[in-house]
Symmetry: C2
Subunit: 241 residues, 2 copies
């Protein structure tokens, strides 16, 4: 990586000898901001084909072209784990998305709950933030960030085979709760800072897919809870074993 | 807590009927900024005596006095776990300190390593940041932040009975590495973004107190590694069981 420090996400197939056209934004970044010349090396990934070393073949103000040389890393796809969370303040929501990318999730689903403080979340911005996090942390996969939706609607269409790790108070710890559970499809559910409403709690407790677990005796902020739950799930059922 | 949303750290004993004098800064915050009047309720903690509900007894521009009524929560002291880390950029160092408070550590020790980017760290500022994090997250304990010191010097005086969880690559996962280990005194060691030098690695590998473990197949930033390691240690040997 000494010769290719820039990592760039592209929405284009990557393979040996593959020519990769650049968008205007990418060309501006590589050629105007980073001042790369023809022959310079860049690392590319697209979330599907792993990471590739690519050489600048054509530069331009509004575009350009790279050519893939060799794969530097295979795709490191995450387990089939979703993160469902109620957005908090922007900096902390950004943080949740960034850390979910680093720790490895397949999909990020922001939900509105009865006590959610933030009524809006721009999924396109959070998707761009996920791409940027992947570029910076060396990830080869980028989870999809879906549009904000009401928790009720999400649960109404929930598939029977996807278990939900609900981080709740006063129950067994996550490691205990996950012991003996199948790896299969899972989701982690993190509530808003104000907690779930009684109605929401009753609904969740009645869902057969739900596994309740505690994140220790201290009060954790939403983003800390998300990160801790992702870590414990990865260690128990994911690819950290 | 409906009547007492402000949580304040004070460096003073807390007990039923105890009178607690305020510093000028605290008085300014409570009376000028938050505009509390005599009779208003505040939550106090000092890191030793748990959390107490206290009533404003005297207000003033340069001071004031609260009187403790009843204990609202006992002290939730963390396990004897230290976090040793190489400082990164300020926002991310702040983050490590904040999350260490939330997840529960006894002591925070920033160290200079050969590849540490940040040469300076103001322990007094990070201590204030730890207090603020504790005020905000409901913690009743505040870990001590010690002055930045060279890793070599810290290791030279390391006690024989404090194990070190060294988050390294290409070894067993943390949960596996910690299985069967005693709870006793521990420290978690997180390297700088550039990793440890060969000399440092050799030194660590030779220390009998060191237990090496991996944090999964993805590259984690320093602050993410710190949080993930703290979480896994708490679940395996700490008070999250």
């Amino acid at each position: 990586m000494a010769d290719a420090k820039i990592r760039l996400y592209v929405d284009h197939p990557l393979a040996g000898g593959q020519s990769v056209p650049l968008t205007e934004d990418q060309a501006r970044y590589l050629f105007a901001v980073m001042r790369l010349q023809p022959g310079a090396l860049v690392l590319l990934f697209n979330g599907r084909d792993g990471e590739w070393l690519a050489e600048v073949a054509e530069t331009g103000k509004r575009g350009g072209r790279l050519v893939c040389q060799s794969q530097t890393r295979p795709l490191q796809a995450p387990p089939d784990l979703w993160l469902v969370f109620a957005p908090v303040k922007k900096a902390r929501t950004d943080f949740i998305v960034e850390k979910a990318v680093e720790l490895g999730v397949a999909r990020i689903l922001p939900v509105q709950t009865q006590f959610t403080n933030s009524e809006r979340l721009r999924a396109d911005r959070q998707q761009a933030h996920a791409v940027e996090a992947a570029e910076q942390c060396g990830a080869t996969f980028v989870p999809e960030v879906v549009e904000l939706q009401p928790l009720d609607r999400l649960l109404a269409g929930w598939s029977a085979d996807r278990r939900i790790l609900w981080c709740n108070e006063a129950k067994a710890g996550v490691a205990t709760a996950l012991a003996g559970q199948p790896a299969g499809p899972w989701a982690i559910l993190i509530g808003p800072e104000g907690g779930f409403s009684d109605r929401e709690r009753a609904k969740l407790a009645a869902l057969p897919q739900v596994v309740e677990a505690s994140l220790g005796p201290r009060i954790l902020r939403a983003e800390t809870a998300a990160l801790a739950a992702l870590t414990l799930w990865q260690a128990a059922l994911g690819d950290w074993k």
